[in-house]
């Protein structure tokens, strides 16, 4: 079986007036359909750039990216994305924010007007899964940061994307809310089994959620290690206090400490 996402030997250089920034260097890894991959690395190593490459928002200077066997040459037109900032549209209610992708992605786009009621139900159900029943008609400013981030996840998933890209989505949240949202994401993934790349600098988050962790070096970003995490699923938060869990986190931390110095 060929990989669903295949990142092959990509290099990215930002050309700027003040000199070039060599962001990524011959980086590669792949994901099977339904895989949960995490990407960790020091700040500025090119993790967000990698997200842009995979979604086709930027072309690599060298190497290729394939999704479902097709080389990515422009925006992939289907990937769900969520960032540290929930990026809500403040003039839209929660449910209208969630339904935004349906107004853009085909085939929903052409059906949206005619089948709005059905889509509303779908969005309401999704909101309920992340613990936001009853909030559909509220506005983003009425929600806490953690709740907005849940909405942001729903927006990234409403069109049932084959690929979900998360760029440090929980970085701005307090520790308790963050752990709650790990569970929300875990449950969504168990249920829908989308393919996901999660960028994070929280090693515990990566180990708790992912099947594979790719460690990237300081700039220029190179792949320095891939760690397979095979704790049985579904995983519970108790795992965070497990000895094996701590060992893996330590191993990863040591590796990142190494690559930051070099």
């Amino acid at each position: 079986m060929t990989a669903f996402v295949d990142i092959d030997d990509v290099t990215l250089v930002y050309k700027g007036a003040t000199g070039d920034v060599h962001a990524l260097d011959r980086l590669g890894f792949s994901l099977e359909k339904g895989d949960f991959a995490a990407v960790v690395g020091p700040s500025g190593c090119g993790k967000s750039s990698l997200m842009k490459l995979v979604t086709g928002l930027l072309p690599p200077d060298f190497g290729t990216i394939k999704i479902a066997g097709e080389t990515v040459t422009g925006p992939v037109k289907m990937a769900g994305m969520a960032f540290q900032n929930p990026n809500m549209l403040p003039w839209r209610s929660v449910i209208d924010n969630v339904m935004l992708p349906l107004e853009i992605v085909q085939p929903h786009r052409s059906r949206f007007r005619a089948e709005k009621e059905r889509y509303r139900e779908q969005a309401t159900r999704l909101l309920a899964t992340v613990g936001l029943d009853g909030f559909a008609d509220r506005y983003p400013w009425e929600l806490s940061g953690g709740m907005q981030q849940r909405v942001s996840l729903c927006r990234a998933l409403i069109h049932q994307p084959a690929l979900l890209m998360l760029d440090e989505p929980f970085a701005a949240l307090d520790a308790f809310t963050r752990e709650e949202l790990w569970c929300v994401l875990r449950d969504l993934w168990e249920e829908i089994r989308f393919t996901v790349i999660l960028v994070t600098h929280d090693l515990r988050e990566a180990v708790f959620l992912a099947d594979y962790i790719h460690v990237i070096s300081a700039r220029p970003g190179r792949l320095v290690m891939t760690k397979t995490i095979d704790f049985p699923r579904p995983r519970s938060l108790d795992l965070l206090f497990d000895k094996d869990f701590a060992d893996i986190v330590h191993e990863l931390r040591a590796k990142i400490g190494e690559v930051r110095k070099s």
């Binding site: 037109k77 769900g80 400013w141």
Partner: protein, 256 residues
């Protein structure tokens, strides 16, 4: 209690200002040719109410006409300028240059083109007030959060989609903020033009009254201008708050 006080305070302050003005004029025996007392001004208003009303109306409608042109043209140009960085960079110096020309200097040209009357007043109001609308609409469009743009582009959104779904709605508070400023400027434009080249309007009336040494009437015109300005500002301030509640609640703040 404090609520009522706060609601009444603008009125109280205005009345107090007139009372102090009146007192100063009386006790310092200021020549009414220099500064007429409010009582004399109100007497003039009473006496000349018809010409004042007629000319106020002319000023009002020419201002509104110029303002309406500015809103239409300003929104279109703002959308064009905000659409692409190239257009933005190309047009910006031109717009800045245009905006730095004092509009008084343009009035004689307008008079040569269109003759004396309402048209130069409307055009001056238009020229002076469209700039903040263009700038604010363009700013609203061109400052979409890059991450939000990424979210939409990864879904396959076209530039037009992004503008329709995000750019134009988020421009609203910037636009309404600009309207408040623009209406005041339009008013200035009309009056400037009326004082130079018109045969109607409050500006024209004040010049006429001045050359007849009717100082109370000049000041009556001035007070009416202030009143019209306040009312127009208030209307658009209300419209702004009413139509863009979300912008006041959420952290996003509009320029204005």
């Amino acid at each position: 209690m404090t609520g009522t006080a706060e609601r009444l305070s603008p009125w109280l302050f205005t009345i107090a200002m007139f009372l102090i003005w009146e007192a100063v004029c009386r006790f310092a025996k200021i020549d009414p040719f220099i500064l007429p007392a409010p009582s004399e001004i109100f007497a003039a208003m009473n006496q000349y109410w018809w010409p004042l009303a007629k000319n106020s109306f002319v000023t009002l409608w020419t201002t509104m006409a110029g303002f309406a042109l500015a809103v239409g043209f300003g929104i279109v140009l703002g959308l064009v300028v905000g659409w692409s960085r190239t257009i933005y960079r190309g047009l910006y110096p031109v717009l800045i240059g245009f905006n730095s020309v004092p509009k008084v200097a343009v009035v004689p040209i307008l008079v040569i083109w269109f003759g004396i009357g309402e048209i130069p007043a409307i055009l001056t109001a238009f020229l002076i007030s469209f700039f903040p609308i263009v700038v604010n609409v363009a700013t609203g469009l061109s400052t979409i959060e890059p991450e939000l743009e990424d979210v939409l582009r990864a879904l396959g959104a076209s530039k037009l989609d992004i503008m329709l779904k995000v750019g134009i709605p988020r421009t609203q508070p910037y636009l309404f903020g600009a309207l408040k400023v623009a209406i005041t400027l339009a008013f200035v434009g009309t009056v400037v033009s009326e004082t130079i080249a018109a045969n109607a309007g409050l500006g024209f009336l004040m010049v006429q009254a001045g050359s007849n040494f009717q100082m109370p009437l000049v000041f009556a015109g001035l007070l009416l201008l202030a009143a019209e300005g306040i009312v127009m500002y208030a209307v658009f301030a209300y419209v702004e708050v009413h139509f863009t509640k979300w912008a006041h609640r959420s952290s996003m703040s509009a320029a204005g």
